[in-house]
């Protein structure tokens, strides 16, 4: 088991863990909903991962996410650095990484050597994050798995202009009351969210590749909306939810 490391991404919505072998392959992973007591959850989930992979107790642990300082890891580093490391490990390319997580959306520019050249994040507000979609999907009574089909079926998109999750929710209620079809509202929401994230990215050079990580990247509707806003293809990284945890595991190698 030489060179095996553990990576934890204790995020605001989900807790992610990976076991990485010395060759850089993921041996095992887990994604579960975050619990309030992050220390306890980490203890339980890491024990399961160690058992499943026969990783010894002293296997180094790298941590990231909002709970990174509370999980007793050997090293705690920010999601920005971890996502960049994870992405570079998977692509070995410079580029722009869009990470859309539960509470933060980040646009990270990765240099040719895999380091963070620059980054920007949404500020002080959850508009532009996975939580924004989660709240509004709840209001529309639509499950995550139904989203791509509904968005594809939309004849047109309905504009949702509010930049605040709470105001957007009341705007959606009004639109529903006016009889707007759900697929159109849903498409409008995706475009609204994508335009906010595209604004974080600023003006991108023509030849730069865009990658995407984070839980929101699991849905093709958001990926398509973002590609439309940025005017270029967006490549979703393999197992996008695990990229941060992968970076954390790489940080203790």
């Amino acid at each position: 088991m030489s060179g095996v490391t553990l990576g934890v991404d204790a995020g605001s919505t989900t807790w992610k863990g990976v076991v990485l072998d010395g060759a850089g392959e993921i041996l095992d992973s887990v994604v579960v909903a975050s619990e309030p007591l992050v220390e306890q959850q980490t203890r339980v989930e890491l024990a399961k991962l160690r058992e499943a992979t026969c990783a010894p107790r002293e296997t180094p642990v790298g941590a990231t996410g909002y709970g990174r300082k509370r999980v007793g890891a050997d090293r705690a580093i920010t999601e920005i650095t971890c996502h960049a490391r994870g992405a570079f490990h998977l692509t070995a390319k410079a580029g722009v990484l869009v990470d859309m997580g539960g509470q933060d959306s980040k646009v990270i520019r990765i240099g040719a050597d895999g380091t963070v050249a620059d980054f920007s994040m949404n500020d002080k507000c959850a508009a532009g994050t996975g939580r924004f979609l989660e709240v509004l999907l709840g209001r529309l009574k639509v499950g995550w798995d139904q989203v791509p089909g509904l968005v594809d079926s939309a004849e047109s998109s309905v504009s949702v202009s509010s930049t605040c999750t709470v105001f957007a929710e009341s705007e959606v209620i009004s639109l529903m009351a006016e009889g707007e079809p759900v697929p159109g509202i849903l498409k409008g929401l995706h475009l609204s969210l994508a335009s906010r994230v595209a604004a974080l990215a600023g003006i991108l050079p023509d030849d730069i590749e865009v990658f995407m990580s984070g839980g929101v990247a699991l849905g093709s509707a958001m990926v398509n909306a973002l590609a439309k806003e940025l005017g270029r293809p967006v490549t979703v990284l393999a197992e996008p939810q695990l990229v941060g945890a992968l970076g954390a595991a790489l940080s203790v190698r």
Partner: protein, 438 residues
């Protein structure tokens, strides 16, 4: 009943010094607690005790100033030398608001202003100050009632409306010095326009104080102000050494005398003392932080309520803020001062302050500071409360990278209102920025 003037003089010359002596004695008798062994900071500056004494005496004298001497409430960029010549005791609402900010009193004071309809989008210094007046509360004991409000628009336009509100509430006259915004160098007519207003100010201040300006006294105050500005600049310049003998956060606090006591012998005596200590530390390689690996420039006002947390976060990762455009502003003025010609000197130097100059000038200044202080990166505080300081920072960030190869972080916060800052998110950004250097 002791006349007010006698009370004031007694406090100034006997009570204040005696109180400081007693405090000093009690400090000496108490066992000294040094910094924690695991503290990332260097040994604390000895001068901090003298600084506290100086500012405590200033606020103590203030309690007895109204009715004894003329009192003016002035903006930080006001040519206070002219008022000092006439014996005015000056109060700085901005400095006072910062004091409230450090003590996290802004939410309480600001709420009083907000209840009257002042918007949360208004500068948090203004809201803190107006709230303090409305509540008649202050951590400084008591602020003297002003005879004159003196406002200069070289730092922002908000001060004009803020002081108009104070004038209306306190029923006292307001004088305004309007400085035209300058692109490049100011023209002769810009300076004449300001100089004419300063002449007018002198006659208003003479009328309010009941005193006449003595030209010799004006020259003396102008000389002291010039000397103090140079001394402050020398203190800051000690941080061009590696390691810097203090931190930019220390500078935020040690700026108080040059802001509030500019043009006085006490101010200059203090900076001579501080300069000696900084030189001593440089000679012995004593840094503001224990291990200085990376050096940063800070742009804009401090986040007063978060200074301790942020300075610790940086120091623990071996980052030191070695220069700030904010503290440098009071040193920069010296370059345009001519103490032999006080009125024109003030017109020139107070027009060319950082917030009254165009972005190219700011970029030149920041590039020069980055080079002189050999910084590795910059933290640009995008201050919700200070729009003139924050506008253009996105361009400044790009240009700094292009021109000086300096990597910057734009940090959204507020200088006084903790309700407008998310500490957890802010810390994550700073930490990620630091990780990008390693």
């Amino acid at each position: 009943m002791i006349p007010r003037r006698v009370q004031y003089e007694l406090i100034k010359h006997v009570g204040g010094p005696l109180l400081m002596e007693l405090q000093g004695l009690s400090k000496r008798l108490r066992p000294r607690r040094g910094p924690r062994p695991d503290s990332p900071f260097g040994p604390p500056l000895e001068s901090i005790g003298k600084l506290k004494d100086l500012m405590t005496r200033h606020y103590l004298e203030g309690r007895y100033a109204d009715g004894a001497v003329p009192v003016a409430w002035v903006t930080s960029g006001f040519p206070v030398e002219l008022l000092r010549t006439l014996g005015f005791h000056s109060v700085y609402p901005e400095n006072h608001a910062a004091l409230c900010g450090v003590q996290r009193l802004t939410p309480e004071y600001s709420a009083a202003a907000e209840r009257l309809g002042y918007s949360r989008s208004l500068c948090s210094y203004a809201r803190t100050d107006i709230g303090a007046v409305l509540l008649d509360k202050t951590p400084a004991g008591r602020l003297p009632r002003p005879d004159l409000l003196a406002c200069c628009t070289n730092i922002c336009q908000t001060v004009l409306y803020w002081y108009r509100c104070l004038a209306d509430h306190l029923k006292v006259p307001l004088v305004l010095i309007d400085t035209p915004f300058v692109y490049g160098d100011s023209a002769a007519h810009h300076q004449q326009y300001v100089a004419d207003q300063l002449e007018e100010l002198l006659s208003t201040a003479e009328r309010i104080s009941g005193r006449r300006v003595e030209p010799e006294k004006l020259l003396e105050v102008a000389r002291l102000s010039y000397e103090g500005t140079l001394l402050w600049g020398e203190c800051l310049a000690e941080s061009t050494h590696r390691p810097a003998p203090w931190t930019g956060f220390d500078g935020f606090f040690h700026i108080a005398p040059i802001v509030t006591l500019r043009g006085s012998t006490e101010c200059n005596a203090y900076y001579r003392h501080l300069l000696d200590e900084l030189r001593y530390r440089v000679k012995r390689g004593i840094g503001g932080i224990k291990e200085e690996r990376y050096r940063l420039l800070w742009d804009n006002l401090p986040i007063w309520f978060n200074v301790r947390e942020m300075s610790t976060l940086l120091a623990e990762s071996r980052f030191n803020i070695v220069v700030t455009t904010y503290t440098n502003a009071w040193a920069e003025a010296g370059k345009r001062m001519d103490p032999t010609d006080p009125i024109n000197s003030a017109a020139r130097s107070y027009t060319h302050v950082i917030l009254n100059e165009d972005l190219d000038r700011r970029l030149d200044l920041m590039s020069r500071l980055a080079r002189d202080y050999q910084v590795d990166g910059a933290l640009l505080h995008s201050d919700r409360s200070c729009k003139p300081y924050s506008i253009g920072q996105v361009d400044l960030r790009d240009k700094l990278a292009e021109r000086a190869g300096i990597k910057s972080l734009l940090l959204e916060a507020d200088h006084n209102d903790p309700r407008a800052y998310s500490t957890e998110q802010g810390n994550t950004r700073i930490q990620a920025f630091m990780e990008s250097f390693v």
